[in-house]
Symmetry: C2
Subunit: 284 residues, 2 copies
């Protein structure tokens, strides 16, 4: 599968991960500036929509193919913006977005993957996870919501889970939206400065923010332990919103191109049906 310069630049190499060494305001694999990036994103729209329709059409012939895009990142890193600007480029009919909040009592009574299974996209869909099972080894670890042995167990359980999905027709694309703490601060300031954005702000955001180094460390472990051949992680520099949107659109486009999606063959006799239609009794 040929991939784009952006995908090549973003795929995480094996080995230890040091997030402080990955720039948050760069635009790896892309030469242009903001206006160029926005134009490049716009230019992908038709092909993305075409390939998504082919994937959708495959449902009629019993495909098991589907795409799962996992979005993770600190508050304000732009998961919502990706949904609006990148996922918004394709037919909403074929998209299944699942947002994972703090688990409910019922969800907590099950294994952490129970609610994840329920949120998986059906065949033919592009599924998007806005947060995911990775919260259970991120906030789960930082806030000690589970003990060390359980956290440790989860890395393996996640890899097994994703390997199983891969065997069931899923193509998994995992993206960590990487912003700097300075960028987060300025985005939080914006929310507090604009009454139209108050609803996006929660005082608890600052408590999480104070734990930034612990989250960074937890992310590094996640990236090291769960970036696999079948479900690789991509670290997306996300201080530049336009690059974030472009990069994820490019990853999605590469993924769909890699599926070599054809229009389904007719499972009926085309000539027979043409004849039936031509010769029908008048319908009024």
């Amino acid at each position: 599968m040929t991939t784009s310069a952006i995908a090549d630049a973003l795929r995480l190499p094996p080995g230890p991960v040091d997030l402080t060494s990955i720039e948050t305001d760069a635009a790896p694999g892309f030469d242009g500036k903001k206006a160029d990036g926005q134009a490049a994103l716009h230019a992908m729209g038709d092909e993305l929509a075409d390939l998504q329709e082919r994937l959708w059409a495959q449902r009629t012939v019993g495909t098991d193919r589907r795409v799962l895009l996992v979005l993770q990142g600190m508050d304000t890193s732009g998961k919502g913006g990706v949904l609006r600007h990148t996922i918004g480029l394709v037919d909403p009919q074929g998209v299944r977005i699942t947002s994972f909040k703090a688990p409910t009592e019922e969800e907590r009574a099950h294994d952490f993957l129970w609610r994840i299974e329920k949120g998986l996209p059906p065949a033919g869909y592009i599924g998007v996870f806005d947060r995911s099972h990775y919260e259970d080894v991120l906030i789960g670890k930082v806030r000690a919501l589970a003990d060390d042995d359980e956290i440790e167990r989860r890395y393996g359980a996640i890899n097994d889970f994703e390997a199983r999905l891969s065997g069931e027709g899923f193509t998994i694309v995992k993206c960590m939206l990487h912003i700097s703490p300075q960028e987060q601060k300025s985005r939080l300031e914006e929310r507090l400065a604009n009454p139209e954005k108050y609803w996006k702000y929660n005082p608890g955001d600052l408590d999480e923010r104070a734990l930034w180094p612990a989250y960074r460390e937890a992310y590094e472990t996640v990236l090291e332990r769960t970036s696999t051949q079948v479900a690789p992680w991509h670290v997306i520099p996300s201080d530049k919103k336009w690059y974030r949107n472009l990069a994820i659109a490019q990853l999605l486009l590469d993924t769909l191109r890699g599926l070599d999606l054809q229009w389904p063959e007719a499972d009926f006799e085309v000539e027979t049906e043409k004849k039936r239609l031509a010769e029908e009794s008048p319908v009024q």
Copy 2:
């Protein structure tokens, strides 16, 4: 609530309905041609997106408001096109599309409204039904899938159900996509002429088409019996795809405008939070 010329033209007056007297290729309430209609649709995008975000934001303050758009129509009438071109104008995050196919065995073991309840949008969402509970008094009646008494009972059950939803924060907009049998024929011919559209064709479509007069009668009864103050029907002339998309966008826009959606007030002390953020320990 002020409504647009399009909405005024499309709202079904009380009384008997004769679908043969409603033109399928007209553009009621709109003066322009195709290019004007497409421009008018495009021009609604920003306001639609803004109002939808306000509705979405209301979730954070415990709103029960939500919109339910019901799309009904014969095969090829363009339900999928509305999803792509009209619903595609707003943030996919705040949209919940539910498509109703032939009921499963489990669904058939329950009352016809059981699966409908499960497909309702949560508060803050725009829900779209691609087919709906109306199938149970359309194909249900035409194909005699239920006996006459049961069909008769369902009209009342639907009105009670929708009245209850209206009291729970739903605004219901029901649209019947009205095409002529000649237009359907030409759309089916297109599907059979283009290998990229074979997947949209099903030989059973012609069997349903042969029952056109019975479906028309069933639709007329639905429109007469279930167009209510809280959940009115609109008959959308749909031979012109551009008008169909424009008209439904306009109905959605009118609906959202009518909700008088404000940005939620802060439920925290803005100045306190600004101070916390300004005075925090350095985060690196």
